[in-house]
Subunit: 706 residues, 2 copies
């Protein structure tokens, strides 16, 4: 509650065991290739220790694919005069943890004494190198403060990490390579991946090697006099499958040198990701945390890597990829870190075969993207979920939440317009766009009154099997027009490419050119006063006074149940309003934004972490920046205060991306005019100025408001 | 962490079981006569439910006196469709608790469902009437939100409250008085107090009376349809011993009417206690919380009532009174709520016989105030304490922390100078002052080099049995001079009173007139560069680098132990600097404040809650308001964030008083000139203005800075 905020540092001043699981997510570090949750180095009961290697999806027997937790490099245990260094058994006498967003370094300082020991000070520092993304480094500094202590250290590579239930990797072989180094080879439990790990430890006196295949490690005893200290440095390299190159850094394994190089690499990212706000250090911290965690989870160059719905910070959704990435994360990357956006679009391109398999399985042509995808692009949404009590619940989103296909095309178009990356559009974007449109053309059902999409789920997932969801229909119509337009562009640029694409997709030019006409016939319903009907029959649903349910922290879904929700006019998250955020012209934001806002907002549960940031963005566009700022704070609290109570599963990617979009596209009103970036600011009154950088067609634009 | 702060409302948005014990202290309400911890109405495992009646000290067999917890009026349990309303068994679906500092109303709204029940909304509101201080009122509003529910209510007066270990009262008799009312009579376990309680409940359909002497109560079952609600109002009166007057309000027992009258009474207190700070709503909240809790714990008219070190918010120190009240709380009351200051001085006057007994027992003349006192003024400091591990520890403060006597005289003088209350000085203040001086004159040991006080404990309680503690010696010297001066004043005002006082104290006029000369001979030691030596030998103690112990949350006492601390130059709290806060001229703040600050601050552990606010005050006076503001925030965090970890025992009276003094005497530089109040502002840079009211000689002075 203190009003002094360091806008670059996420910090924690006390160890509270009950908050520790969520804080492990919050203090995640990453470099796009590796991600490590903020679990303590030493064991903590209930910990969810995890390091992820981006892209290494593993399919344990009988389970859906999951980004497998790799064997753990942070492992570092101490005993002090025979007593385990354990913050639960003996609460610390001092504790401070900081995540320096500028440098990417996580630091934890603990003052501790056991029942019968003197007081020691232990400082842990760790990075995942942004300069050499296969490298992890840990620095541990132990000082005796009051009495001489004998410290026994064990540190190595810990296998058998639950991922989230069973381990994803099994060890094949471990061996000591030198005085300070050992190596371990692993295989994923589905045998699809090999993973080599090298571990190098300096600072231990005469280390013994413990030849335990599940936990190879060094062991050493240090005697420290009062006032004296020892420093142990550990550098670990992860090498998966086809990776080449030396495992440990040739330039040595000095922690400070590795940290310096990593910081320099982060500085390059911050050049375009920093947002400065005079008058609101907390908002700066919110936005820097968001940018940090998004960048930390995004590979700059590997399209096999994926940005999961909980980033690389937890096991939520098994790291599966949703529209969260396309619509909430990628538009932010597009304008600040376009290489990271491009990698995701490459991931989507790689997923096309899976999307085609899904469409075919459901009896349609074209490509129907997976609602949840792992590495192949095939649908991996679970069909059933088991709540804490009651019978299993059927999940329909895999079959019915069709808008994902248009979301991908929308992200590709947004990327292309900002970057001018014609090569992408020709090589990958056009195919993504056209094959999705082929799906829509095959899927739409013709009636006398127009084209329908029946039995779908829109962004409002509280209403299942609905007809003509407004978001889905409008996005599908946009997608069809976009396909015609992209085809014309491609044909103009390279007739041969266009022809080859048509052949590959099995459609004729006439079909594709006709998509724009199809689009005009897609049914969209609107009341006399301009309210779009979210789906057929929505206007007739039973009203519910959501205000009477205040103060509410649980989703209304939990209180009413799925069945009653079907007939109740309460929505999980913006749906009609969501179209206004993505397609303001098509959804008539300028004309009917306010009337739709007034109609839908009181019916909105914010039962998804995607809801609040979009409301922040739209409130700013609708010229109410103070209301927007309230939504912005509430959205930030989802991860920074765990207000949804599921923080242990990881940081909410879409919410973080949404916060950044609310800042740029909402408060600053960043847009694209004929001559490049434009702004139309609506800052909260206490923001005296705002400054940021965007990237347009490869060039940096430094923008200052006012 | 949200930056939106309501500067009048302390709030809590989630129920966190692990924080609940401390939050019970934080959400205490009071009216000077009654104080009730913020325990839930329904039972919570681990609760420390307590209502205190100010002044009712009880001495359970074999224990030290304690302010006894009275039988509980907040008792209100529900079952919903047979399931107990229990936030631990079934975490709430929504929760918000607010303490409105302006009105004194505590409100808790809970959204809840059991395993098999519909969702209900329960709103609890409670006040302790500031208008009629023997009255407590509770209003409970239950709404069914989703399904019909059958609610069983039981509400009454719960006896057997541990206080803190055994109950302080036993029931004698309980009987139903009418359809909606019952009465219970209690006796304290030491048979010194009688307590009558009347309980009146409206809103229950056909209530049954449960004739249980330990827990007499009404019981009723209510059926509530979805969307409908019921309201139950409970009014309870506490009448102790000699109190007269009707027990229940004659004007009816309407909650809203009682709350309105109470709010109006609070408004009168806020007229002189509100501090407004443009640019810092959090600082406003800090200061309003402080003023609220101090006023809530202070009787305006009953000198048997006492302001304990943890106010009426917990069992810490068994509600005993320390110098915390005289030096940290009363100077604030003196300038804003002089009647509350006066009551405490009346309490001290009542304590004189006990102080005389203590001096006599130790072989001295005059009055030596108890380090800890309850109702009689006799010393009630425990002689031993039992730590969690290790052998019992002898507590020496009762014998050795002698400065308390001068602190009381200092508070009386400060009060008199601001209020001009000559009647007080003549009737009580002069006797307090003179009899304390008689003690000092009897206690001082003469050597060739001057007068000494050997084997004392100063404010820095880390060093025991020290000689010539600077704070004690300087305050004693001031006290001796003050006695001579007060005697001269009294003699001039009323020679008969002066003569009678001398006779009562058994001293001659010559002795008293000679005290000023004694004062000049009290030993005070100082280094060549102006550093006062805290006690004989302090300059030779072993140095310790406290910085190396950062980040530290536990007191250095816990890490080094008492024995080593004796020879180490680390102090618990300001001692030399404390004299500068109280007697800036005598301690040469203007000349040597900075050099003493630089010398002592790095040696200060802040192991007491008294330490940080005094540093805030002094830093402001030494013209570093930004540093002062950091101390101010850290001091506020002791209670608002439980940074010392002992919040369950109650709010720290001295810290709250110190925060208010830091604001008024520090940041605003409030002082007393020849013509009345003066200011010498040193505001933190982000405070664009500050406004408050002080009372000087019965007149209100509205002060605005700048």
């Amino acid at each position: 509650m203190s009003r002094r905020i360091d806008p670059w540092v996420l910090s924690e001043d006390r160890f509270r065991p009950e908050l520790a699981p969520w804080r492990e997510s919050l203090f995640t570090i990453g470099n796009g290739r590796l991600g490590t949750r903020g679990a303590f180095e030493e064991f903590r009961p209930g910990e969810r220790r995890a390091t992820f290697v981006n892209g290494l999806f593993v399919e344990p027997p009988g389970e859906l694919p999951v980004l497998g937790a790799a064997p753990d490099w942070t492992d570092f245990s101490l005993t002090v005069d025979g007593e385990p260094f354990d913050l639960v058994a003996h609460p610390p006498a001092g504790y401070r943890r900081t995540l320096d967003l500028r440098t990417g370094e996580l630091r934890r300082t603990v003052l501790w004494r056991g029942a019968e020991t003197g007081t020691i000070r232990v400082e842990f520092r760790r990075i995942l190198s942004m300069a050499e993304p296969h490298l992890a480094a840990l620095d541990v500094h132990v000082t005796a403060l009051t009495d001489p202590v004998e410290v026994n250290v064990q540190t190595g590579i810990k296998g058998g990490i639950p991922s989230p239930r069973v381990p994803a990797f099994r060890p094949l072989d471990a061996s000591r390579i030198g005085n300070h180094t050992f190596g371990v080879d692993y295989e994923s439990v589905d045998r699809r991946h090999r993973l080599q790990v090298r571990c190098h430890v300096r600072g231990l006196a005469d280390p013994a090697y413990v030849d335990d295949l599940e936990h190879p490690r060094f062991r050493s005893t240090l005697v420290i006099d009062p006032g004296a200290s020892v420093r142990v440095t550990k550098v670990v390299a992860y090498q998966a499958g086809a990776d080449a190159g030396a495992l440990l850094p040739t330039a040595g394994t000095d922690y400070a040198a590795l940290a310096d190089a990593s910081r320099a690499a982060w500085e390059r990212r911050w050049r375009t990701s920093d947002i400065r706000i005079d008058g609101d250090p907390y908002a700066e911290l919110i936005l820097r945390f968001a940018a940090f965690q998004l960048i930390a989870a995004a590979s700059p160059d590997d399209p096999r890597a994926a940005i999961g719905a909980r980033l690389m910070s937890g096991f939520g959704y098994r790291h599966h990829v949703f529209w969260d990435t396309d619509v909430f994360v990628v538009p932010y990357f597009t304008v600040t870190q376009p290489d990271l956006a491009r990698t995701h679009l490459g991931y989507r391109y790689r997923g096309l075969p899976g999307a085609r398999r899904k469409a075919a399985r459901l009896g349609h042509r074209g490509a129907f993207y997976a609602w949840e995808s792992a590495d192949t692009g095939d649908e991996v949404t679970p069909e059933w979920t088991s709540p804490a009590s009651g019978p299993p619940i059927r999940i329909w989103t895999g079959e019915q939440e069709e808008h994902i296909t248009a979301d991908v095309a929308w992200a590709a178009d947004h990327y292309w317009r900002w970057t001018g990356d014609d090569e992408f559009l020709e090589a990958e974007g056009a195919e993504i766009t056209l094959d999705g449109a082929v799906y829509w053309a095959s899927r739409l059902e013709a009636e006398d009154d127009g084209l329908h999409l029946r039995k779908v789920i829109g962004p409002d997932e509280y209403h299942l099997h609905v007809d003509d969801n407004f978001y889905t229909n409008l996005l599908a119509a946009w997608h069809l027009r976009q396909a015609t337009s992209v085809y014309r562009w491609l044909h103009e640029r390279s007739p041969a490419s266009a022809e080859a694409l048509l052949a590959r997709l099995g459609v004729t030019e006439a079909e594709v050119l006709g998509y724009a006409d199809l689009a005009d016939r897609v049914v969209l319903r609107r009341s006399a006063d301009g309210v779009w009907e979210q789906h057929a029959g929505f206007f007739d649903l039973e009203p519910l006074d959501l205000e009477a349910f205040e103060p509410r922290t649980r989703a209304i879904y939990d209180l009413l149940g799925e069945e009653r929700l079907q007939r109740t006019a309460v929505i999980k998250q913006p749906d009609v309003l969501m179209t206004m955020a993505l397609l303001p012209d098509e959804a008539d934001l300028a004309g009917s934004g306010t009337v739709n806002w007034s109609y839908y907002l009181p019916k909105t549960d914010h039962g998804s972490s995607l809801s609040l940031p979009i409301h922040a963005l739209l409130a700013a566009r609708l010229r109410d920046p103070e209301a927007a700022y309230e939504f912005f704070l509430r959205a930030a609290a989802i991860d920074l205060e765990d207000t949804m109570g599921n923080g242990v599963d990881g940081i909410h990617a879409a919410c973080q991306g949404g916060l950044l979009q609310a800042a740029l596209f909402g408060f600053a009103g960043l847009g694209l005019g004929c001559g490049g970036p434009t702004t139309d600011p609506r800052l909260p009154s206490h923001w005296s100025s705002m400054a940021f950088t965007c990237v347009y067609r490869g060039e940096l634009h430094d923008i200052e408001i006012p």
